[in-house]
């Protein structure tokens, strides 16, 4: 169970910038109202962030065979579109990719 000093410092930094957005409203609530424009951007940021995290990163699930990421993503979209619980979406995509990699490719 070893811990690298640099990684630990990075985790510390990450924990600070993770806690700040969560705790800031406790400190400043009722003292500051965000402008409408800033609020609009913050509202869109999760969608933008998730979009950027999905693509093109999903293609790197198997960097030799891009189809693996495409199939996994398509299965996830279909299952999520059927309004299945997120757990089944995850399990379905994982199962599809395992079957594809182990039995077909």
């Amino acid at each position: 169970m070893s811990v690298n000093e640099n990684i630990l410092l990075m985790i510390l930094g990450m924990s600070v910038v993770t806690y700040i957005p969560r705790a800031l409203p406790v400190a400043i609530l009722n003292r500051l109202n965000l402008s409408k424009q800033v609020e609009g951007v913050l509202k869109a940021i999760p969608y933008a962030a998730l979009g950027a995290l999905i693509f093109p990163g999903i293609l790197s699930v198997n960097s030799q065979k891009l189809i693996v990421g495409v199939v996994g993503g398509t299965v996830a979209v279909i299952l999520a579109y059927l309004k299945l619980n997120i757990t089944f979406v995850i399990c379905g995509a994982v199962a599809a990719v395992i079957m594809l990699q182990v039995y077909i490719l």
Binding site: G13, I20, K43, Y47, L50, G73, N85
Partner: protein, 234 residues
């Protein structure tokens, strides 16, 4: 005695409402451990990360960025950008927990995640207290750490092909998180596609870790306009 019963009931309800999060968090945190260890983090580092962060998207992004050789500063900036959305969520949650003592809010703030925010936002005012939110946050935190520890244990048991296949889990999670929003508001899909496009184009020129940061900011700015647009035709 009555007061104690009330507190217990609220706490138990919070725990119960958090069960779907538990079911969702176990495989995600498990996948996080497996991917993180494959990337080169030690098991102890994985567990410390889960204890100190409780932030799925950030932790998985950090691991992904480490895998492509990103530095600590880039990762911390990306973490901040990804978590800026919690500012809005926590503002909302703290507003609804307004009667909670301030010192307790500092602790409860740590438990604000997409999931706990989503659940408490659907609850009636009577449940917006420290006991309910405490129960909800506790089961979320517990399952996150538990899944991480479990992942570090079973990584030696499960075959490598299955481990590598599990890296699809995080993308499936992101898709699963986005889809309900797209169902509710089709303009969200536009925002997602714009950001994907920006990320893809920028990724050809700059490091993918920075492309994600830039696409998130630019996508957020353009996305704000898209979300504010009036529907063209019914």
């Amino acid at each position: 005695m009555e007061a104690k019963k009330y507190k217990n009931q609220m706490f138990l309800r919070g725990l119960k409402k958090g069960i779907p999060v538990l079911i969702g968090f176990i495989p995600i945190s498990l996948a996080f451990s497996v991917i993180a260890v494959q990337t080169g983090l030690t098991k102890a580092e994985c567990i410390i990360m889960s204890i100190m962060l409780l932030a799925g998207a950030s932790q998985l992004t950090a691991v992904n960025m480490l895998a492509v050789g990103a530095g600590s500063v880039e990762i911390i900036i990306a973490t901040l950008i990804i978590n800026i959305r919690h500012l809005i969520m926590s503002t909302y949650v703290m507003n609804r927990l307004e009667k909670v003592p301030k010192w307790m809010k500092w602790i409860l703030a740590f438990g604000v995640t997409d999931e706990t925010f989503g659940i408490i936002s659907m609850e009636e005012d009577e449940y917006c207290n420290q006991y309910f939110f405490g129960g909800l946050a506790l089961i979320t935190y517990g399952s996150w750490i538990g899944g991480t520890v479990l992942g570090t244990i079973i990584i030696d048991i499960i075959p490598t092909s299955i481990c590598s296949s599990m890296s699809i889990a995080l993308y499936a999670m992101f898709i699963g998180l986005l889809t309900p929003s797209i169902h509710k508001n089709h303009k969200v899909l536009k925002v997602v596609l714009v950001s994907m496009f920006i990320n893809y184009i920028l990724g050809m020129w700059i490091k993918s870790s920075w492309a994600i940061v830039a696409a998130t900011l630019l996508g957020g700015i353009i996305g704000a306009r898209i979300l504010e647009e009036k529907e063209a035709q019914p």
